[in-house]
């Protein structure tokens, strides 16, 4: 497709689990190239279900998902999974290989990359998250924050079109949280961040979407959404105690 | 029960190695059919689980403690093929990374602890669940029986191997009684923990229990004409149902029969008392040998069980276990024949 295709375009996406529970009821969203967008929503809003559709782990019951113009279909899965980098909430799920090096290499190696090019990708990805020193260490010897950064690197090594992070700030201590924020804001890729950590969304993302009840309930600048107390309350979202967001900073 | 190098002679070690290799290659194919491309991660995680669970010590009796072998548990939770692979991988890792179990004895160890416990456990489980209705209680009871019998069955296979190529000059009958008796006791603990574990998984995620497939509640469809109830679809790939466990069942029956045959032959000339075989179940700690007056077969009782009556009782329990094994095997063969006859008619 053309260069102007958005990184991600979801149209009328609806999905019901095999047991009949319907989780998505027609999701529409577009994310332009280079944007950093937060997907906010209470527990059970369908956030994880939506994320699973973005790289074809779940396939749409109705509607379409396009990544940089390429529709998610059985025959495009391979390319889609290269383009969409999913970072799971628990880095132990993501880092399944015995060493950091092999783990970061797993994705590109599945794309058929070998030898020096593979090594370059691994080093490059680890360098971008500041974890080059952990190259030959087993993941379980790293701290939680380090593991999450390596998890981001495993995905960056695929050179994705869009990075999708599931609760990136969960379980991080304040310093690790800061380090990860610095890394994420420095990345030159489209980011979709699924979270209910509202200050983190405000810090990193210009724009936010609220997913509630299986549809996009709000879409706008993060600052404006978070300043609207009624909107937040209606969707079971809350700012931390003592935290207020003025709609128009002076 | 990890057998070290030098315990069995070379022919038996090699023979068991060939047997284990054959069993593993069958199971590799079987597990692929069941789990598809999920085999490596799923079996790996279940193997790690088995490894961890083997560290759960449970008190058995008279101040001794045992730990789970896990073959029957794995078979009921993830199916016999995957279970054999998982336990075998645990044994390989223990041998190579922890020097636990001899390298030349790997074949013996895999045959006994991965193949026999799993096959016998699964065979017993299927026998029991075929009798009763597929309800939760029956599945838990079947799990108990399966694990209970799987442990002494492995001990008796150990005895059979010992008879074929053991390097120690001990009467096979006393090895059989000691191993069988002690492991029947351990089997009780194994059975209890296995049954309770299966029960607790059934309570939370019944869909994860391989042995309880088909237990799912019927679904309700809301249609124009009202609510219609339909049976839940089998989540497992249906194409290999019926074909899958059959060889395992036949194998389990054969093993049970063989054991019953070999061991009851020797048991008929059984000496008095029960020789305690020092083994790894925690029965061995500070065990003192007590040479008794009645000749070469000095008596060894289960730790803390110096009472002859109790020792005799344990031997009796071993006998009952054997009868169950033999009876189960015969029952299965007969049933099978009858069904085949019906199928022909």
């Amino acid at each position: 497709m053309t260069v102007t295709s958005p990184s991600l375009a979801v149209r009328g996406l609806a999905y019901a689990y095999p047991d009949g529970t319907q989780a998505l009821f027609g999701v529409d969203l577009t994310i332009a190239r280079g944007e950093r967008v937060a997907l906010l929503g209470p527990n059970g809003a369908g956030k994880t279900t939506l994320v699973m559709h973005l790289n074809g782990i779940l396939t749409a019951g109705h509607g379409t998902v396009e990544v940089a113009g390429l529709p998610v279909r059985a025959d495009t899965l391979r390319e889609i999974r290269r383009r969409v980098g999913l970072v799971f909430q628990d880095p132990d799920d993501q880092l399944f290989m015995p060493t950091v090096r092999e783990d970061v290499a797993f994705g590109p190696a599945n794309l058929g990359i070998r030898g020096d090019e593979l090594d370059r990708r691994v080093r490059d990805a680890l360098g971008r998250v500041g974890m080059l020193g952990a190259l030959d260490r087993p993941p379980h010897h790293l701290s939680f924050g380090q593991r999450r950064r390596v998890a981001v690197a495993t995905v960056l090594a695929m050179e994705p079109e869009i990075l999708v992070l599931d609760e990136p700030s969960s379980n991080l201590d304040p310093a690790s949280r800061r380090e990860l924020a610095d890394i994420l804001s420095g990345l030159d890729v489209t980011v979709l961040m699924v979270t209910h950590d509202l200050p983190y969304a405000l810090e990193l993302c210009e724009r936010s979407l609220i997913l509630s009840g299986g549809v996009i309930a709000a879409d706008g600048p993060t600052r404006e959404l978070l300043a609207d107390a009624d909107l937040l309350a209606a969707h079971r979202l809350e700012l931390p105690y003592g935290f207020a967001v003025p709609a128009h900073p002076s | 029960m990890h057998v070290p190098d030098g315990f069995f002679d070379v022919p038996v070690s090699v023979g068991a190695g060939v047997l284990a290799t054959g069993a593993l290659s069958v199971c590799l194919r079987g597990a692929r059919r069941e789990l598809d491309d999920r085999t490596a991660p799923m079996a790996g995680l279940v193997a790690a689980f088995i490894f961890a669970v083997q560290m759960l010590n449970f008190p058995v009796a008279a101040g001794t403690s045992g730990h789970l072998l896990g073959g029957a548990l794995a078979a009921i939770l993830v199916g016999p093929y995957t279970a054999v692979l998982c336990v075998a991988v645990v044994l390989l890792v223990q041998a190579f990374f922890f020097a636990d179990g001899g390298l030349t004895a790997l074949g013996v160890n895999i045959t006994l602890m991965a193949v026999v416990t799993t096959i016998v456990g699964w065979a017993v489980f299927r026998l029991v669940t075929r009798w009763g209705p597929r309800r939760r209680g029956v599945i838990v009871g079947a799990s108990f029986a399966a694990a209970l019998i799987s442990v002494p069955a492995a001990a008796l296979c150990f005895t059979a191997l010992f008879w074929l190529g053991g390097t120690a000059p001990i009467e096979v009958s006393s090895v059989a009684l000691a191993m069988g008796g002690v492991h029947l006791l351990i089997g009780l603990g194994e059975g209890l923990i296995t049954a309770l574990t299966v029960s607790s998984v059934l309570a939370v995620r019944p869909d994860l229990v391989y042995g309880a497939r088909g237990l799912a509640a019927p679904l309700v469809l809301r249609t124009a004409v009202g609510e219609v109830t339909v049976a839940a679809q089998e989540p497992a790939p249906a194409r290999n149902r019926g074909r899958g466990p059959r060889p395992i069942l036949v194998g389990g029956g054969l093993v049970a029969l063989l054991l019953a045959g070999v061991v009851s032959f020797y048991a008929s000339s059984a000496p008095d008392g029960l020789n305690k075989v020092a083994q790894d179940k925690g029965f061995n700690a500070n065990e003192k040998a007590q040479p008794l007056e009645n000749g070469p077969l000095a008596g060894y009782s289960v730790k803390g069980v110096s009472d002859e009556r109790l020792s005799g009782g344990l031997a009796g329990v071993a006998g009952v276990g054997l009868t169950v094994l033999a009876g189960g095997g015969v029952f299965y063969v007969v049933r099978r024949r009858r069904r085949d006859d019906r199928a022909v008619a």
Partner: protein
């Protein structure tokens, strides 16, 4: 067996033995164990030669004797068994300190002790000089079924994660006053085991999803390929060749 004895045996280092490709070491240790097991038990000198060979390997690998000895506790259950054999063994008897012992039983006990000890020491040396991950790569090089090696790889990766979960559950149990005294406490242990299984299984499913998201299509890519040079093999076969020569000698020198 050996609950609580499961330490990782690997001891990082940079010796000629550490540097050998894993497939060479695996084959060498396996062949050594076969030679030991095949040696007649009454050739005491042969066992001494094997012990010297292992000591030489340990010295070359710069693995201290204490390290190996401490880890040989894994053998204890069968040592106890070996001690019992002369007491229950059949055949000719000899009185030692007033206790009638079976002569063939004594030989059998020696046989098991000597061979098991040599086997365990060789395995410890292998595990001490080879990283677990490399050992698995070596096994794959030796044409062990790849699926089996992959299962072991995943097991190795998640062993500590699951043991950690188990430890946390134990702490949770004990901090609420639970003590496992006898079988009546089994239901509590079993609930933990059940919960552990569910967590392990669900993690397996999530790992599978994570693999799919990074392009997994049923085959694990070969990322590190270790090849062994002729020189590596030449060095590695030293141990089994010398052991095999000893075994052959022990057979012929009747």
């Amino acid at each position: 067996m050996s609950a609580g004895h499961h330490h990782q045996l690997y001891r990082a280092g940079d010796s000629p033995v550490h540097r050998l490709p894993p497939q060479c070491k695996l084959l060498a240790v396996a062949a050594f164990a076969v030679a030991v097991v095949a040696t007649p038990r009454d050739r005491l000198w042969a066992f001494a030669v094997y012990a010297v060979l292992l000591a030489a390997v340990a010295a070359a690998a710069r693995v201290p004797a204490g390290f190996v000895l401490r880890r040989m506790v894994i053998e204890v259950p069968f040592v106890l068994f070996a001690v019992v054999i002369p007491l229950v063994g059949t055949g000719e008897r000899v009185a030692v300190l007033g206790v009638p012992l079976s002569v063939p039983g004594l030989w059998a006990a020696w046989n098991i002790l000597a061979k098991a000890t040599l086997g365990v020491a060789a395995s410890i040396l292998l595990a001490a000089t080879t990283e677990p991950r490399t050992l698995l790569l070596g096994a794959e090089r030796l044409r062990l079924p790849r699926l089996l090696v992959q299962i072991a790889t995943f097991m190795l990766r998640y062993m500590d994660v699951i043991l950690d979960q188990m430890r946390r559950m134990r702490i949770a149990r004990e901090s609420r006053g639970f003590v496992a005294r006898d079988l009546r406490q089994a239901p509590v242990l079993a609930k933990s085991a059940g919960a552990l299984f569910i967590r392990a299984y669900e993690r397996g499913e999530r790992v599978h999803l994570a693999m799919l998201s990074r392009g997994y299509a049923g085959e694990m890519p070969i990322i590190r390929d270790l090849s062994a040079s002729r020189r590596d093999w030449g060095l590695a076969v030293l141990l089994p060749v010398l052991a095999a020569a000893t075994a052959v000698l022990s057979w012929s020198l009747a």
